[in-house]
Symmetry: C2
Subunit: 445 residues, 2 copies
């Protein structure tokens, strides 16, 4: 079963045994990368997809994991399983640390290398803290399962601490959650946190009233949801406020600490902070020895090729691609997905029959954000939708887009049950929390 080893010039790097024919390496199994792999697999082209995680994650529902509505596995599908039906596609678990553009190989952290004829970088984006990397520890963002688990534990643990704290000020601090950033992530988190504290937790405590928790949504711009039309943003704001979320617009965050957030000169004591503000591309530009844009993105042509680097393509959040209106395409799942499908099909045709790659054209299928329990805003360009019907459409679309039949069925069922009962099924605090419960602060200090 094992093939002979191909020793390279660099004796410290082991190359994965090569397979015959042209070989495409894809870095990242997010929405973009997985589509490239799927199209190559359909065409029978040899491809290797590398990711740090063993699962493809449906990030748009990650906020529901962070707020205990869904379990991690319900929105994550093993990459091997998603691509299991395509024998020409191989999956490698590993972290990419560099690209040798001359030797045409991708280098992994564990010392191995993977040779490529064509390379697709689809390694996405992570959080950006506007130069304040020290905030990351206190204000986790929401990009991975681990992020979501961490946030879920922090929020639930803050309520646990509040319950046994005799100091009213400390109790108030613990029951204050700041959400930084008024984009879709921030809006969805704030709504879901309000729902969690108002409903699911309400009868479960004896000394505190979880529904009196303070959820503050902070946004530096003068309005929420800058990617949506003004009327939908106003609707979202009104809905969130009706749920009890405090929205503070036009106020930039000045400091984030373990127990506070400072905004517009005011120091707000908080029990947990969620980061939904900045995004920074993964280090793809550095791997290629290029200068990225301010967010670290790599400018590519309409065929996603990096200028001057033949056969090296970039898609998704890492790519800077202009839309038809001349503005860069936004960092959305549907953008990455369409780019992946387009590039995958193009590469397959190109490698099999030499056809040149066609330029990409993005088709906006509508943009949505959920606002609390039963409302969503939907922007289809010419049409707009808001409220309950938007929510229903959102739910149907998201279940349809989930990977894996089992996940689709289980998530639909969870949502139906939650719709009927307000219960949240995944209120786990990870890793022996009782051992780490801090001593309550004395009121007489």
């Amino acid at each position: 079963m094992t093939e002979a080893l191909e020793h390279r010039t660099d004796p410290t790097r082991l190359a994965l045994p090569a397979r015959p024919g042209p070989h495409v390496v894809i870095v990242g199994a997010g929405f973009g990368g997985i589509e490239v792999a799927r199209e190559l697999g359909r065409a029978g082209v040899a491809a290797t997809i590398v990711d740090r995680q063993n699962h493809h994650l449906f990030q748009p529902l990650l906020y529901q994991v962070a707020t205990a509505a869904l379990s991690p596995a319900e929105i994550a599908e093993p990459i091997r399983k998603v691509l299991g039906r395509y024998p020409s596609v191989e999956v490698v678990l590993g972290e990419v640390v560099g690209v040798d553009t001359a030797a045409r190989q991708v280098e992994l952290k564990n010392g191995t290398a993977i040779r490529f004829d064509r390379l697709v970088l689809a390694s996405g984006a992570t959080h950006g803290y506007f130069g304040h990397d020290e905030w990351a520890e206190h204000a986790p963002g929401l990009k991975t399962i681990e992020d979501a688990r961490k946030l879920r534990s922090r929020v639930l643990l803050a309520f646990e601490q509040a319950e046994v704290t005799p100091d009213p000020d400390e109790q108030r601090r613990l029951m204050t959650i700041a959400v930084i950033g008024g984009g879709p992530t921030g809006v969805e988190m704030a709504g879901a946190l309000a729902e969690l504290s108002r409903h699911a937790l309400s009868r479960n405590f004896r000394r505190i009233d979880p529904s009196s928790a303070r959820i503050i949504l902070l946004e530096a711009a003068p309005r929420l949801l800058s990617g949506f039309p003004e009327s939908l943003a106003a609707f979202a704001k009104e809905r969130l406020e009706r749920l009890g979320v405090e929205t503070r617009l036009g106020q930039a965050v000045e400091d984030v600490g373990e127990r506070h957030v400072t905004v517009a000169g005011e120091r707000i004591p908080v029990g947990a902070v969620v980061w939904g503000a900045g995004v920074a591309a993964s280090p793809g530009a550095r791997w290629l020895g290029l200068e990225g844009d301010r967010a670290g993105r790599i400018r590519v042509g309409p065929d996603f090729q990096v200028p001057g680097l033949d056969g090296i393509h970039v898609i998704g959040d890492l790519a800077l691609v202009d839309g038809e209106d001349g503005k860069p395409l936004p960092g959305l799942a549907q953008v990455a997905k369409q780019e992946g499908t387009h590039l995958g099909r193009g590469l397959a045709r190109n490698l099999k029959s030499g056809e040149p790659l066609e330029p990409f054209r993005y088709r906006d299928r509508g943009n949505a954000a959920i606002v609390g329990r039963h409302a969503a805003v939907f922007d289809f360009g010419r049409y707009r939708l808001k409220g309950w019907f938007g929510w229903l459409l959102w739910a149907i679309v998201h279940v349809y887009l989930l990977s894996g039949a089992q996940n689709r069925i289980v998530v639909s069922l969870r949502w139906l049950l939650r719709y009927l009962t307000y219960e949240r099924g995944a209120r786990l605090i990870a890793d022996d929390p009782g051992r780490k419960m801090p001593p309550p602060r004395r009121p007489d200090r």
Copy 2:
């Protein structure tokens, strides 16, 4: 909302504010503790239940989390939610580190204390390594969600490593899993691991054949399932072997390392080890200043009271209680559950009307173990059941016993889907595994 603080003589310990009336403290929210709390809650008696975790765990299905069939949250229910309907019952997240029997208070790790009139210790058991605590690191057992996640990650990661390893010996090592202990846990793990590698993973790899994985079940006694009749144990052995599990009976484990297990003088290279052999009680005896039995259990009377310690009771895996046949009752969920219900009702009556506690009588409701995909053994004393019908009965009983309506529905559905498709829905490797992928070993070393 906050009550005044009661300062105690020990100024470093903060006592939780007391509530009026006699107060029962329960340590541990396993099968025993949760039943005590439920009965006291029904009777309106003031009680506080303390646990290190925020969830009540359905341990009998933990092996399904470890083998990626279920998600952690599907077999865990927040203690607060389970007991949410009983206003007289309070839940505290914390780790007990001692009991002050004179001052009648339970001491928590974070420096707080909880005063009690009656105390119920139901803190259960953990793994015992027969004096070889250094084995724990390499051979995690299966008692907590964290244990199950760790095992799941190790097993799945071993297959990932095998896929990219050029050395055939190393590949063989990585695809060998040793299960130590032939009791129900070991039998269930071995069967589930065989099923996982033979079916769910089978089409997902390119360079290895997961169905050729070697699953070895090691048991020091000459037979499996010592708590079951001989005929059922023989059936289990035959079924496991048909699934491809290698059973090695009458061979005690001599050493466990990071990459090997030594048994009967033979050093077997392994990729992962599961511990299902020894059990040791939690440190309850030490808290009370008593000498436990060899497994750390505390001998109690038929009313679960500790001799000489008025109003202090012990139930479940921590208690040594003789059955009607004079032999100690086994460490089973149903034993702990019946003890909890009995003691909870007794304490409620005693505290409300002074009625003395009645002696406990255990009713054996049957004992089961699952063997691979579609078979179980069931021992009802006079009747025995094995095979497919045993499996169906096992599934119905276990769904019925799960906490939480949502979990019952989701678990039933997952089982139905798995029955139909062989798929496992929760194949997640935790915590950025790609970053930690070790370098493959060179074959030419």
